[in-house]
């Protein structure tokens, strides 16, 4: 093993912070202020002075520019400033991986990773602007009414279901597991709003095969985490969640527009997942709990399959509600409620929940959880992953 060239066990998440989560348009303050609040909370959680932060990493073209943040916070020395390319949630784990790389390389000592969203104050993800003309990749799809993530992920999910003989039952089980976990999480937008199979079946179609409850919410709020060396993290306030592995990337031509990824019905993790497990030195069966980015349930299903938790042709049997829930399902997923039922914070809330599972402080704690995985951004490109442990 070329141990010099890995982040394994050299870095840890030492602090987590989240603002209150709001329904879309519900944030009473500006998006930038939400970002600052989350950073303050994360630094306080870690027990470090804010002015000790010397690195910033984010993803999905976060509007809250790193230099504005560093200036607003009066950081004496910004040593690392980094943006993970690509939209959607594909860069959540990637931003942590980039922060980790910066720490191992000696660029910075305390990197904050944040994501802030106030869709009420800016454009919405689920709506297409009323433009007269469009060029580039969207020119091949928008004029035909195929313009939103729900619509492209539905096309790929439909093909996946056809190829592997999967029914809507699998999608319903994923949605119900996320809602189930939100019922013990007072932070969750859907706290107090359980989802029955009947509710699921009777909800309106967004785009077949997705009902309303297969789709992520749109929310306002902000989240932040503090990444530092494992050595420094040991002396801080919280039990460190050490990075066991991080990986990012995209498979062959997955960026080809007009639905031309040669491997079509894929979550885009087929080359990435083996790299992740190799760095961690573990196998899928060793993972105790996973937070799997839910833009849409179909992409969650494909991700779990491509991370080796079940064979694609066994998906029908694997994706059962009882297999997906804490404390003792085969693979408890999205134990805070995730993007479907806690808050759509572009998956940074999933990373925070993965840290809680390692700390033992989740509201849906998995018994004796040691190895905690995050999958960021299925069916987009690029995507990323991480694995944490105590």
């Amino acid at each position: 093993m070329s141990s010099d060239f890995t982040v394994r066990d050299k870095v840890a998440i030492a602090g987590i912070g989240e603002t209150k989560y709001y329904k879309r348009g519900g944030a009473p303050v500006a998006e930038f202020r939400l970002a600052l609040e989350a950073i303050k909370l994360a630094a306080a959680d870690a027990g470090i002075p804010i002015k000790q932060l010397d690195g910033i990493a984010s993803y999905s073209n976060d509007r809250n520019d790193s230099v504005r943040v560093a200036t607003a916070l009066g950081l004496p020395e910004l040593r690392f400033s980094n943006m993970f390319w690509g939209g959607g949630g594909g860069g959540g784990s990637g931003a942590i991986g980039n922060a980790a790389a910066a720490i191992v390389a000696g660029y910075a000592n305390y990197v904050v990773v944040y994501r802030a969203l106030a869709q009420g104050q800016f454009g919405r993800f689920g709506q297409t602007p009323a433009l007269k003309g469009i060029s580039g990749p969207p020119a091949y799809t928008w004029p035909y009414g195929m313009s939103t993530p729900a619509q492209w992920i539905a096309l790929r999910t439909r093909r996946f279901m056809h190829d592997h003989n999967v029914t809507e039952d699998a999608l319903a089980a994923i949605a119900m597991a996320c809602y189930h976990h939100a019922q013990t999480n007072p932070r969750a937008i859907m706290y107090g709003r359980p989802l029955s199979r009947k509710d699921y079946d009777e909800s309106r179609w967004i785009v077949e095969p997705f009902h309303l409850y297969d789709c992520c919410m749109e929310n306002d709020g902000a989240a932040a985490v503090i990444v530092t060396s494992a050595e420094r993290a040991r002396d801080l306030k919280q039990k460190p969640a050490r990075l066991m592995a991080a990986a990012q990337g995209s498979d062959f031509r997955q960026g080809a527009a007009s639905e031309n990824g040669p491997d079509y019905a894929t979550s885009n993790f087929k080359t990435l997942a083996p790299r992740l497990y190799a760095m961690a030195g573990i196998e899928p069966k060793d993972v105790d709990v996973a937070q799997v980015y839910e833009n849409f349930t179909g992409a969650v299903m494909a991700s779990i399959v491509e991370h080796g938790f079940c064979h694609p042709d066994e998906a029908r049997d694997f994706f059962k509600f009882e297999n997906l829930i804490a404390p003792s399902g085969k693979l408890p997923i999205n134990t805070s409620g995730g993007n479907l039922a806690e808050c759509y914070m572009h998956g940074l809330e999933l990373i925070i929940e993965a840290v809680r599972q390692v700390r033992g402080t989740s509201t849906a704690q998995v018994k004796d959880a040691e190895i905690s995985m995050v999958v960021s951004g299925p069916m987009v490109a690029p995507v990323s992953d991480l694995i944490l442990h105590a």
Binding site: K132, G133, A139, Y140, P143, G145, W205, A257, E259
Partner: protein, 149 residues
């Protein structure tokens, strides 16, 4: 077009959808100009024969910069499909449901195009069903739609 759902525009979807505009750098001009002539033009490498969508300045297989064009017969097979119920664009209010299909072109390396399947939006759609291209003319541009065979 017999299958047009919109009386005024004689198109499958209502007026007000964004029009495709060829990229400013010219990379896909031939694709859109071909559609205007009712020809389905797919990019094909002059050196190694690889087809690719969407158009690019280089062949992804052999890295030749000599990428040319091949006229497809317009016969394809349904690779995936969806029935859309929620209008994500203001022009689509009242136009749902509608059908979107991904069509693979066997005569062009199975590259894929996205379009609408003409006719009844509640019709049964089958994977791998044969379809053919229908050129839907608009003011200044042409869309490529699909008819079940």
């Amino acid at each position: 077009m017999a299958e047009a759902r919109d009386e005024n525009t004689r198109s499958y979807l209502p007026a007000g959808m964004p029009a495709p505009v060829p990229a400013g750098d010219g990379v896909d001009r031939e694709f859109w100009e071909g559609a205007r002539r009712h020809e389905l033009m797919i990019q094909r490498c002059k050196d190694c024969g690889t087809f690719q969508m969407t158009p690019e300045w280089i062949c992804h297989n052999c890295h030749s910069l000599e990428v040319g064009w091949h006229r497809s017969s317009g016969r394809g097979r349904i690779y995936s499909f969806e029935r859309v119920w929620h209008p994500a664009h203001p022009a689509l209010k009242g136009a749902c449901p509608y059908l979107v299909v991904v069509v693979a072109l066997p005569d062009s390396g199975n590259v894929r195009l996205v379009g609408n399947l003409l006719g009844d939006p509640m019709q049964e759609v089958r994977f791998d069903a044969p379809v053919e291209a229908v050129f839907e003319d608009h003011e200044g541009y042409t869309l490529i739609q699909w008819r079940a065979l």
